[in-house]
Amino acid sequence: MTQKLVVIGAGMASGRALEHLFEAAPDAFDVTLFGAEPRGNYNRIMLSPVLSGEKTFEEIVTHDAAWYADHKVDCRFGETVTRIDRERKVVVSKGGETPYDRLLIATGSAPFIIPVPGKDLPGVMTYRDLDDVNRMLEVAETPGANAVVIGGGLLGLEAAAGLHARGMDVTVLHLMGHLMERQLDPAAGHLLKTELESRGIKVRTQASTKAILGHDKVDAVLLEDETVLDADIVVMAVGIRPETRIATDTGLVVERGIVVDDQMRTSDPDILAIGECVEHEHVVCGLVAPLYDMAKVAAQTLLGKGAAYKGSETSTKLKVTGVDLFSAGDFADGEGREEIVLRDAARGVYKRLVLQDNRIIGTVMYGDTADGSWFFNHLKEKTDIADIRDTLIFGPAYAGGAAADPTAAVAALPDEGEICGCNGVCKGTIVQAIASKGLNTLDDVRAHTKASSSCGSCTGLVEQLLSLTLGDAYNPAAVQPMCGCTDFGHDDVRRMIVAKELKSIPAVMQELQWNSSGGCAKCRPALNYYLICTWPGEYEDDNQSRYINERVHANIQKDGTFSVVPRMWGGMTSSSELRAIADVVDKFNIPSVKVTGGQRIDMLGVKKEDLPAVWADLNAAGLVSGAAYAKGLRTVKTCVGTDWCRFGTQDSTGLGVKIERLMWGSWTPAKVKMGVSGCPRNCAEATCKDVGVICVDSGFDIHFAGAAGLEVRQTDLLGHVDTEAEAIEVIAALVQLYREQGRYLERIWKWAKRVGIETVREQVLLDPERRNALRERFLLSQQYAQTDPWAERVAGKFAHEFAPLADFSQPREEALT
């Protein structure tokens, strides 16, 4: 006898289930199909090409009227089922009651709307069905209209690309640090962002929407950081949630989705559910592959055949023309997991395989995804890859592959990319000289082009250019790599950051072919410094790549407490400052107070959670951070000079204060301590500082490259200047040169020894033009650096650093957020 099957939801899941059903048993069921949309089933995942204009709607229809008629399906499109009466086995809709023997729920999912003010304004839309697409296309007809897409996931980016293809000015807002964070790791996310931006789509990551603005329609989007973006439409594509209302109302078991067993049965065995509305083994899915697997099983169950759904491995491809991106499986790091990373900076390729027990468990690919399905097959088949492991990453076409070419990053550099910063020599000049003049040694290149002939920091790159041009005939000297994540040395990395205009840590890691996906505790702080030094005001400091002391602006002690040192300009203080310090010590029960070697006062043993309150009190007395923790300017130690001393020749205290006012807040490769002595008796001990000034009757002797730590070293005399203004100018230029050439954690004296005292002197003292350029760059950088970090944190920045997430140590156990 023919049974009555009622299907709620006419989307891709139920469409596929009906196909299987009719194929296996054409006459087993009388089918009634309800759908909320006023049309039959179409390939929803191909809506993006319709939006972009690459396909028409007709091309993506999977079941037309004839198909439904052939299979005698009673189509009730545009008619919503409002209730299921399980007692009487009927569904209720506008058209009355429809009885069922078996019921299939495939209601799919609904777009998630973020609850911000203005979310209900006309012009705010979601991206789910053809009606949404048509609404977007209507607005896109206005030339130059602005679209803001909230959500940088799969759906959001496809919407953005489609709207951009239709001529709209598109901005994508994404809450997380990189695009498609569920499918991509940061490296691939970086490549994707670069690609989209190069097409003219604006992308803002870590952008939190505060409100949507407008009166009778959308006008703009307001972000948490107060940025306002003009918008004619706002597309919300932040995620989906299972559409479960009908199931909940009728009393089926619903968690995040409608709970189903392996046979796709709900808690009522006569009711099945499939697709995005269900939850199977605690998993809710949003991709097409699992939904097809479920459809197959549901058809079998309806026919009384044994079949079981065991979950699905899923892979993702972004459907944006010209963007090749593939991800599958679990690509998180983990215990016992290993990764193979291939980066080809020249072609913008990134491939990463995550292995466990000699099996592929996840993969992320960008730029070249041709081998994606091959890897995915091995993943699904759980192939043992031990034998092919060495060449696995090169894909099926490659047997016996060689290691990635270390010169690829330099090869990818354009001819105008600058190699030698000291002498302004670019790649093209060097390559041409090597070829046309038959150069084959480093010294030849130095003699003919001047590249690498001054500070020598670009030596590694020049050698790579030699081997690139001459092939195996040239054997470059080994450069000490920065860390285990790369073959490049510090200098190479710095030069490439400038030459390739790399402006984020993921960008550096991709373009320089890092062999780990996220760096390590050695390279991340170094890269963070190089980027902040190279791109002042542009690069956003990565707090999580900083050592704890620079993250919380205090010095960690052996017991986990911190020490706090306020700045005392040139070592000068006052009764009110001292009184404020005394009050803070009493108020917060600070156990130790000590005078430092750099003429400051150190409060030791401050609890981390007290830091903001301690700083607030110190700030109130005019005291700011003394940066006693920083790879940056620490102190300028002075003597009392002509103010009081009978031997003083100049106002050494005044000069010290001026230098400190100029220098404070700057980040440097390693700490910088300075001193100014008012006469050659040198009470400020300036001749063992990183930079020291000895005042004499005729002016100022500027010293540098001293040390008084693990090494003890007297300074070298950089030179003599006549005026205080000149002294300050030279010191600014000197520090900037060190900032630009020093390797991370390399003190001034080591840098000076490496590049040569004479080279430094030439640039900062003898060449006024170069000195001035260095000074200008220092001043520019200082515009962005001179903000008191204590005041920022008193105002609430990074508040999470200073409070526990939860506290169960009290008698009443209570969770805090």
Binding site: R524, N543, Q544, P804, F808, T817
Partner: protein, 116 residues
Amino acid sequence: MMAGKDQAWVDIGPLHAVPRQGARLVRTGAGCIALFRASDDRVFALDDRCPHQDGPLSQGIVHGHSVTCPLHNWVISLESGEAEGADEGSVRTYPVRVEDGRLLIDMAALGATKAA
């Protein structure tokens, strides 16, 4: 209160309250637990005490699924609590998971430590 092998998952806050590649503290009667969030959003809970000289691991730099202790640069696996490289030692780990964007920690495991 939470004896036996039963687990007792307690919500301790939203995932986003912990910065990526960072950590937050959970205080207990028996000391602090460091709750880490890696760049891939996996979370881990470990005693906030380096096996070397009790350094606060929560203050270290998080890279991959490891943390470098701020005091003497020991590298500790967030997964196993074992010291990596040539160093030897281990730190206790606790069950923690993320559900619907919320962090859940197993109070039973915390309680067991307290009793121990």
